[in-house]
Symmetry: C2
Subunit: 336 residues, 2 copies
DNA sequence: CGCACCACTCGAACCGGTTCGATGATGGTT
DNA sequence: AACCATCATCGAACCGGTTCGAGTGGTGCG
């Protein structure tokens, strides 16, 4: 069922059908009625490829995700869900493209074949090669997370440095003197993953400012690593009474390690950090933590991108979110 | 950079460039070289929409997921990841389309606009309206899960009835006499969600066969519900000594409830079921369970679909997987 | 009555590829 | 030298939409 067939049956030209559907030029009420009848009868819907070719836009966004093999964290998942949802409000479809590892074929295909109108990058590195690639291709894009020197593209991020700083002050206020940061994995830090680096520097700066003794450890994104990591902390720095973390995947292991060590939270040990609210509430006891507002961020990212696509000349917008720390039950005064 | 520009600079016709790229007709070595040079210099890649229009296929699959608002379970996520991965091996892109609730605009857009070559449906109901819709549109599709009366489409599924039956036998062999099935949510059962219904009937049949007293409960897909659900079980049927479950999302709550009740697994209580291996291993102690081989299923689903697209006349293939129960440490003999 | 204007419709060109039939050059046979 | 097969290439048509400029007929107004 193509537009020519509709036109023939309605006894009009193809262009008239097109105008009747788009409303870009007036069409008499009677012909419009006739066309609509035929369309309703035959169940016509314009061919997306043909329309994309003619209009020069695909009404599709690409969401670039980390390679599927590495399991996505809770926050990442919320981004994906949020982006799909937000795109739907603009009547846009979402193409899922893994990147990194040997999956860059998908990324290249999407970028270079004009397959999408814009790209959403997540898991951004401080100096990310994909950003350069997209700029070179002059394809609109937005990043969730921001590069070291943001340039032409809009971005949305959580202010990790600030939030971690607040966590440290919170712990200092409760009397803690020896604290540790449980960061994301070694590899991510080495690769220049922004949140990990910004958290680390924010943590150390704030601790120094409050005169605390501070340690940082990297921890792979899985429960087993969280367990091992906490045992190492107990061994190396037994005086530590509170931890700050941005590593969601390690939480179950951390919880097991605490129980194993016979430590009660928050009586014997305090925990806080930046964590998806879903996980923070699932912890036992519920975590006092800054929730990453993934849904809001996704919506903002899509909005910024749509804006940039509509008006490529405009100055790129950005947002650095500072969600409040939700006081739950995982932090308490240091015991003497 | 379009094919005409390449042709002009290489001093050949557009068709020659096309043949040089596709290899569908011979091109002399010298002109091929010239064309390749020009392409390398200008970085040309064919426009995906134009190609799709001309070829009549989009090299894209649609993956229909439950509405993004409902959080995806671990198994569902593994499907998504697996499908993306499997599609990449065929050089296909994946369009993510939420369906259900008020998100059916996306589904309709994709189905009816010839936006994709095929569709992968997950979270299939026993009598699913989307299946009828796709059959009517004669768009190739595959289902993960199978409808009551599979017809024209290939499918892949786990044999829930059989696996649950094996779980019951396993528990009966260990001496348990009173068992309970912790199913998925009320709503899913009411909607006619296959795995929930097949698990339930398999469970009851097997229990009767072995002379066990069997109860079943529905439980929403979240930790809090798991906790409440287990407390209800203890209250209503304190004699129950073992549970079978297919509800992954409830596991953390279940675990908390067990600890809260002072029950040791497997000494005081046994747990088994059908669970993603990732979660089964993350449980404490690791769960004896049938792992849903989500990656394999996704790969099979994509392969079947690709086959069906290439050869629409062929009989649809299908696979009913029966992964072995992995013996871990969550089941033990009933104590007297 | 004639003219300008408006509302509506049509045909043709275009988007950027693929594919088919035709054509010209080349070389080998008889 | 005439002929035919083969190979490489070209031009044109097509996929199914959108968009632009150019009619066409009817109306209001001077």
């Amino acid at each position: 069922m193509n537009i020519g067939e509709i036109a023939r049956r309605a006894g009009v030209s193809r262009s008239t059908v097109s105008y009747a559907l788009s409303g870009k030029r007036p069409v008499s009420a009677t012909t419009a009625q006739r066309i609509n009848d035929v369309i309703a009868e035959l169940g016509y819907r314009p061919n997306a490829s043909a329309r994309a070719l003619a209009e020069g836009r695909t009404r599709t966004l690409s969401l670039v995700i980390p390679p599927a093999s590495r399991r996505l964290t809770d926050v990442q998942l919320s981004f994906v869900a949020g982006v799909v949802e937000a795109a739907a409000t603009h009547d846009l479809d979402v193409l899922l493209s893994p990147s990194g590892g040997d999956h860059d074929r998908s990324f290249e295909r999407v970028v270079t074949g004009r397959r999408v109108d814009g790209v959403i990058l997540m898991e951004i590195l401080l100096d990310d090669p994909r950003v350069a690639r997209l700029e070179q291709e002059s394809l609109p894009f937005v990043t969730i997370g921001h590069v070291e020197r943001p340039g032409t593209a809009p971005w949305v991020d959580v202010d990790y440095a600030e939030l971690i700083t607040r966590c440290v002050h919170h712990l200092a206020d409760l009397g803690h003197r020896d604290v540790v940061l449980i960061n994301r994995s070694d590899e991510l830090v080495a690769a220049g993953y922004g949140p990990a680096l910004r958290s680390s520097s924010g943590f150390l700066t704030a601790a120094e400012q409050r005169g605390l003794t501070a340690h940082t450890v990297c921890c792979a994104d899985e429960p087993a690593a969280g367990l091992a990591c906490f045992e190492e902390i107990r061994r190396r720095w037994p005086e530590v009474t509170a931890a700050v973390t941005i590593n969601e995947a390690a939480l179950p292991g951390l919880q097991r390690a605490l129980r194993h060590a016979g430590l009660d939270v928050p009586r014997d040990f305090s925990i806080t950090g930046v964590i998806a609210s879903r996980l923070a509430e699932g912890f036992h006891p519920p975590l006092t933590a800054a929730d990453v507002p993934a849904g809001d961020m996704a919506q903002l990212a899509v909005d910024f991108l749509v804006e940039q696509i509509a008006n490529p000349g405009a100055a790129p917008r950005n947002a650095l979110l500072q969600p409040a720390i939700a006081l739950r039950s995982s932090t308490g005064a240091r015991r003497h």
